[in-house]
């Protein structure tokens, strides 16, 4: 086995293959990034309407709750195939990359909406009432009062979901998107030993996700420190 590694090393470790891996890495990263940023925006809009109290929006609210509950319970792989065949069946010529992005956006919206809702509910009710007294509209209350305070509850879990989606995108290799996992499969199929091909794949995923995990932990600590005074004041006002 070690002999095989030594034999294949000159074929495997070349500049062109390195560039191929790099491009695959960038595809993975950009898919996760596009999916999560768009999902974050959609999630905010969804939560804004879901927490509204206007009575004629009730059907919309029920629809949004159903959306969140259903899309958090469909496996990524099944939804990828569903979107792929649905887009072909109804005649949208999306490229495979965009099929993957749409899938990630659909699932990320549901997951992140739940995180944002939990974050917004963690802000004390007094803040809503204070803003009401100051004659803030609902949108302004959300934007200037609630969101800045719920940031500390939203960002750390949302960041760890972003890292989870980087790993989840490996499943889109099944529809043929050229990302990191497909690169591993390609090298395996041209005869490189599977330990080397998939091992490189594992290492690259690790190199992508581990620094981000550490960064996420630092962001969490910094946010907690920044909001420490704020939180203490809030818990003091509770008593």
């Amino acid at each position: 086995m070690i002999q095989q590694f030594i034999d294949q090393a000159p074929i495997f470790f070349t500049l062109n293959n390195g560039l191929y891996w790099l491009r695959a890495l960038m595809t993975t990263l950009s898919m996760a990034l596009i999916g999560c940023v768009v999902g974050f925006i959609f999630g905010f809009v969804l939560v804004y309407f879901r927490t509204s109290t206007i009575s004629w929006l009730l059907p919309l609210r029920a629809l949004l709750i159903a959306y969140v509950e259903i899309f958090r319970r469909i496996p990524f792989l099944v939804l990828t195939f569903l979107i792929l065949f649905a887009s072909r069946g109804f005649g949208f010529q999306l490229s495979l990359f965009w099929v993957a992005c749409v899938t990630i956006v659909l699932i990320a919206t549901a997951y992140i909406a739940e995180i944002i809702r939990a974050g917004i509910e963690a802000v004390h009710r007094n803040q809503w009432e204070c803003a009401d007294v100051m004659n803030f509209s609902r949108a302004r209350t959300m934007l200037y009062v609630i969101v800045p305070q719920s940031w500390v509850f939203i960002v750390p879990p949302a960041f760890s979901y972003f890292i989870m989606f980087i790993k989840e995108t490996s499943l889109t290799s099944q529809i043929g998107t050229m990302e990191l996992m497909s690169a591993g499969k390609y090298f395996n199929s041209i005869g490189i030993s599977p330990l080397m091909a998939y091992g490189t794949c594992l290492l690259l995923y690790f190199a992508l996700s581990y620094p981000l995990t550490l960064l996420g932990r630092r962001i969490e600590v910094r946010l907690k420190n920044r909001f420490k005074g704020n939180m203490e004041a809030l818990s003091a006002s509770d008593q």
Binding site: I70, I74, L77, F81, G199, L202, Y205, F206
Partner: protein, 224 residues
Amino acid sequence: MSYTFQWGVAFDYLPYLLGGALVTLHLTFLGFLAGLIIGLTTAVAQVYGSPIMQRTANIYVVFFTNTPSLVTAFFIFFGLPEFGILLSPYLCILINLALNAGAFLADVFRSGIQSVKTAEMEAAEIMGFSLFQKVQYVISPHIAKTLYPPISNLYIIFILGSALASIFGVEEITGRAFNVDSETFRSIEIYSIAAIIYVLLTFAASFALALVGRYVFRVKARMF
């Protein structure tokens, strides 16, 4: 709207797909059970082990939480035969799910162990408990109660994650959907039905877990 739905063809295969749900359930159940044991052992090693054990446990957890479970599955599926070990696809996926679940559960368990009050641990120390007895009589009851909701959430996520078993030819819901799809070519209908089965399955699992939590562990588990 150029696509005409033909649900009848797809519904003929409904019992076959529902049979796949059974495979999914016992695959994830066995994998998760093994994961619980691995996770608890790893977490205990991380907190109470010797430095070498702590280091090993940390490497295991960091490695498996930071790599996609699909890639580790490929690594196990195609890597083990290189060492002369040939396993069935089902067993490969089971090992992969157990190792992945173990790493994620170890993280959860570790925070649970650290949340046990020091006074309780000191009391156990005075009673002359061994490490195993401490885990059995002090840590486990505490963990069972406080960590029940996050662990049941993780189980739902693992049901969804087990869909990747279909790639290796295990005939669970998604795998059977592949088979039916290649026979009938009614892709949209088949995958919609598969998605609906997953939604119902996870709802049923959440409900069952919430009931078990309420009556066995006295946890106020929320379904949503």
